[in-house]
């Protein structure tokens, strides 16, 4: 009787170990879709504020976009050029007083800087730093409302980092230029805002 009980307990322990192993395995497999980083109420407020800013930008942008010639999925280079130029100019006219820090407000910038610091620290993240810093961004002038230089390389945004930053709609992108972090309009490449010395 006693022996049976021991076997039962032993089996139970084995099952528990197995189940926890599977759970850990699943968590590792879906690293990219992991739950967002736990944030403090103050950080949450900062992120909410940022997302609100982004939302109102998208509303304005989509209004402005209506002025640009339609772009189909099988456009000619001339049509692409015309669309891009019109969108770029219209965005600039629609936000004549745009200035640095409108989106990356101090509280948002603080949260992002801390996130970047965590993500980029440690020996295993050396490669990540190298990837960002080796990007050839000479010729990029950091100026809000003006486009990112077409001849410059684009930094690859680390996939692991993107899961931790506030999510952006498809019209916007984060981008690095050296230690600076940019918020860029995806289609026109107009710099919407930037944060100097974002990377540690």
């Amino acid at each position: 009787m006693m022996k049976k009980r021991y076997i039962f307990i032993w089996l139970l322990v084995c099952l528990l170990i197995l189940a926890s192993g599977v759970a850990v395995g699943q968590k590792t497999q879906n690293a990219a879709l992991a739950e967002p980083v736990v944030v403090s109420p103050a950080d949450k407020a900062a992120i909410d504020g940022f997302e609100k800013q982004v939302k109102s930008y998208i509303e304005l942008r989509n209004k402005v976009r209506a002025n640009a010639p339609k772009l189909s999925k099988d456009s000619t280079p001339e049509q692409i050029h015309a669309y891009r130029t019109t969108l770029e100019n219209s965005l600039r006219s629609a936000r004549p007083n745009a200035k640095r820090g409108e989106f990356f407000r101090p509280e948002t910038a603080d949260f992002i800087r801390r996130t970047l610091k965590t993500e980029f620290q440690g020996k295993d993240r050396q490669e990540l730093r190298e990837t960002v810093f080796e990007t050839e961004t000479q010729g990029v002038v950091l100026r809000v409302n003006y486009p990112y230089s077409q001849s410059a390389e684009l930094s690859e945004m680390p996939a692991t980092l993107l899961t931790k930053l506030p999510q952006l709609p498809k019209e916007l992108r984060y981008r690095f230029v050296g230690r600076n972090m940019l918020l860029v309009d995806r289609e026109s490449d107009v710099i919407i805002d930037y944060m100097p010395d974002a990377l540690p």
Binding site: I80, H81, Y83, T135, Q150, S151, M157, T160, R186
Partner: protein, 294 residues
């Protein structure tokens, strides 16, 4: 004394010419090797070519284009996968012509379709370009025969894209699953090398859903990796730019590599076999083989 100086000058010229051969001299050597096809050309097979990091608009890019056209006559591939960096520098209308349409004109005229992916030198609006067949999307899937091709945007692998990939692969019914994107999860090149942070995110998904082959560019060399956890990885990033001598031959992951000239690749899929052949700018076969589906 003067004669000695002249001798020095000619000697220096000769050395310079050997070390840095001018573009026209390099073009003259093109097509020096006889065409040799290692692919079986089976009836009903899916045939395609692969090029990467092409958009330089240089004479060397045009040489590769010319060689592709010659091989197309022997091996009529239906479409071409582009590994990104489709256009370096500006993207004005004339750049689309010089860096893409002109070098591959004969293929385009022959109704060969090009499917592009975005590299770190490519503007987002390329997805709308008629000849890149991206359907206005930065990441997309298409099917040919028993193969599903997935083009990913490795510049910006955000949550949305990862979720899309998981969803699509979850309902995939094609026998072969081929990924193509710009940054290589595995590479022995010294300039960039393996993209560890990208690999961290995509490799578990590839393994989970049984991806067979991953085609990439970014490093301006040719490399076929030893299978990594059962997946075949290729770097084909020298269709328009070359980084001579960039392969680290001690990396331990290389099966075959080539960094002496530009190249392109040919693929043929017949049932459970995928045949491949990598060809240099001058027509030399630099690698070939067959992958058996798991």
């Amino acid at each position: 004394m003067r004669r000695t100086q002249a001798h020095y000058f000619i000697f220096a010229l000769l050395i310079t010419a050997i070390l840095f051969p001018p573009a026209y001299a390099q073009r003259l050597t093109a097509a020096s090797a006889p065409l040799r096809l290692t692919l079986p050309v089976k009836e009903g097979s899916v045939r395609f070519a692969v090029i990467g990091d092409t958009g330089s608009g240089t004479a060397q890019q045009r040489d590769v284009g010319d060689m592709m056209i010659k091989y197309h006559a022997l091996f009529p591939f239906e479409f071409v996968l582009m590994m990104g960096d489709n256009m370096y520098g500006g993207e004005a209308p004339q750049d689309f012509e010089k860096k893409f349409a002109e070098p591959y004109r004969a293929l385009l005229d022959n109704k060969v379709k090009f499917y592009a992916t975005l590299g770190n030198h490519d503007q987002a609006l390329q997805v709308n370009y008629e000849n890149f067949n991206m359907n206005g999307k930065e990441y997309y899937r298409f099917k040919k025969g028993n193969i599903a091709f997935y083009s990913l945007n490795s510049n910006y692998m955000d949550k949305k894209q990862v979720q899309w990939l998981e969803d699509e692969l979850g309902r995939e019914t094609a026998e072969w699953k081929v990924m193509f994107f710009h940054h290589p999860p595995y590479s022995s090149a010294k300039k960039h090398g393996s993209d560890g942070q990208l690999r961290e995110v995509v490799e578990p998904i590839f393994l989970k859903y049984g991806v067979d082959v991953v085609l990439t560019g970014h490093d301006h060399v040719y490399e076929r990796m030893k299978p990594q956890k059962g997946i075949y990885y290729f770097v084909s990033g020298a269709g328009g730019k070359l980084r001579t001598g960039d392969i680290d031959r001690q990396s331990g992951i290389t099966e075959k590599s080539y960094d002496r000239d530009l190249h392109f690749m040919l693929f043929e899929v017949a049932g459970d076999q995928m045949y491949f052949q990598a060809i240099s700018r001058t027509g030399e076969t630099i690698d070939s083989g067959v992958i058996n589906r798991r």
